[in-house]
């Protein structure tokens, strides 16, 4: 079941990004199980290099750089969600999700994941096909395949009932010490519109990686491009990342205090809305108590926490979340129950 479990976290359905300038967040992202293993704090990222000043390691993908800090911050839960995951074989897994919500629509979602036979690593196999269908007929589908030993491709589509909202194709090339990716989003030959996103990330030293992103979007009568630069520095037990671009600045700092506590600080400033926000998050891991606790404090006066507990011996996992906006005095809580 190892291969199927590696594929167990499906990509979160993201908001449709029609013509939006920031191509990255608007398009469907690679699920965490399928990318190169993220930077382990005490050791050097990617393939381990030799003792003497040997070739630089592969820096990972561009999207992954801010991910370590983002994983520490809790996600706002809302309503009741029951997820039943069932692995039918080593290659195939099915999930049923029932969502009862007060703010949005309640619904049922069926998801299926197929993991192929071409094995590239201990936790990765290709091709990977993931599909998700809603009770209203909205479909999210992704196919990820490793074309050659260095080239990986991904095709993803997202529909809202019968209308296609997002369709994108992604090609990633991993060199020895660099990664480059090209994403073509919502290409429409008839209208002459689309978004092209190009990423490049290069390892300068075993700890430092620099990269850039170019987003070019085009609509009939309008076209524009946004560039941004990124730098990531990995220390002994911390990772600091900075992204500066036409769309704003984004800086994250991730720190591993001990094997139970991880901290993350994030600063985000946007040119478009002229707003800045700072958020501080922490994650407390108590495997003895089967507990995972994530908390966050925001500069928008938002305090939130998510408590996740494994109810052994059943393969049951309970997540309770609470988010409180002190300024507006609004509160939101949610429960997630995951079976299997």
């Amino acid at each position: 079941m190892g291969n199927v479990l590696a594929a167990s976290s499906p990509a979160p359905p993201s908001a449709p990004g029609s013509g939006v300038v920031q191509g990255g967040p608007g398009l469907v992202s690679v699920p965490p199980g399928f990318s190169m293993p993220s930077v382990p704090p005490p050791s050097v990222p990617g393939q381990p290099a030799g003792e003497t000043g040997s070739p630089l390691p592969n820096p990972g993908t561009y999207e992954e750089c801010h991910r370590k800090c983002k994983e520490v911050v809790p996600i706002q839960l809302e309503g009741v969600r029951l997820v039943v995951n069932k692995g039918l074989s080593n290659h195939f897994q099915v999930s049923h999700t029932v969502t009862l919500s007060t703010l949005a629509e309640s619904g049922y979602r069926f998801g299926a994941t197929y993991v192929g036979t071409q094995q590239t690593g201990p936790a990765e196999s290709f091709p990977v096909m993931m599909g998700d269908m809603d009770n209203t007929g909205s479909l999210n589908a992704q196919v990820i395949h490793q074309l050659t030993s260095a080239v990986r491709s991904k095709i993803a589509i997202q529909t809202q009932q019968h209308k296609f909202v997002n369709w994108q194709c992604d090609l990633e090339y991993r060199g020895d010490d660099f990664t480059s990716a090209v994403t073509l989003g919502n290409p429409d030959v008839l209208l002459g519109s689309g978004i092209i996103v190009a990423h490049y990330l290069q390892s300068i030293s075993p700890a430092l990686a620099l990269g850039g992103e170019l987003v070019y979007h085009r609509r009939p009568g309008e076209e524009g491009a946004v560039t941004s630069l990124m730098g990531r520095y990995t220390g002994n037990n911390y990772v600091a990342t900075l992204t500066l671009g036409g769309a704003g600045a984004h800086a994250t700092y991730y720190h591993r205090a001990n094997d139970q506590l991880q901290l993350g600080v994030e600063f985000e400033g946007s040119m478009r809305t002229q707003e800045t926000a700072v958020s501080f998050g922490y994650q407390l891991d108590l495997p003895k108590a089967n507990l995972l606790f994530k908390g966050s404090v925001d500069s928008n006066w938002v305090v939130g926490a998510v408590l996740e507990k494994k109810l052994l011996p059943l393969p049951l996992s309970l997540a309770l979340g609470a988010f409180l906006n002190q300024k507006k005095n609004t509160f939101q809580c949610g429960v997630n129950v995951t079976v299997g």
Binding site: K288, V303, A305, L324
Partner: protein, 131 residues
């Protein structure tokens, strides 16, 4: 001499003011005791009086703001503590109690020497512990 009134020698001194009793009543009706005390402050110079007034009203405003701030701060502090810290405290306490209970059970089962986790039971062969 016809315009001049002749006073008879029996008439006493002419009363030109109202009697004493009426004067006191009028003055008491005009001012209460507080107004009389307030009137005493008029002996202080004007600058001192205005400074005292500003200080008094300022301290009242500060006291009101401090009160409302401490109310809001107490609420924000309590709810944030409740959300961020309390669940972890509950869970760690529960874990401690469970471990204590396990230790006690092990003590009862294997004797007081085997109370510590990982302690050797001495010369006795290790008894199978069924949990």
């Amino acid at each position: 001499m016809a315009g001049i009134e002749e006073l008879s020698p029996a008439a006493g001194p002419v009363e030109t003011r109202p009697p004493e009793g009426e004067i006191d009543e009028d003055e008491e009706l005009d001012e209460t005791i507080l107004e009389r005390l307030w009137g005493l402050t008029e002996m202080f110079p004007d600058t001192l009086r205005s400074a005292a007034e500003v200080t008094a009203s300022g301290s009242v405003t500060v006291a009101k703001k401090l009160y409302s701030f401490s109310r809001a701060a107490l609420w924000v502090g309590t709810t944030s503590f409740m959300i961020l810290v309390l669940p972890v405290v509950f869970e760690t306490e529960r874990l401690q109690l469970e471990q204590q209970q396990l230790q006690q059970q092990r003590q009862i089962l294997l004797g007081p020497n085997a109370g510590m986790s990982g302690g050797m039971p001495g010369l006795m062969p290790p008894a199978p512990v069924k949990m």
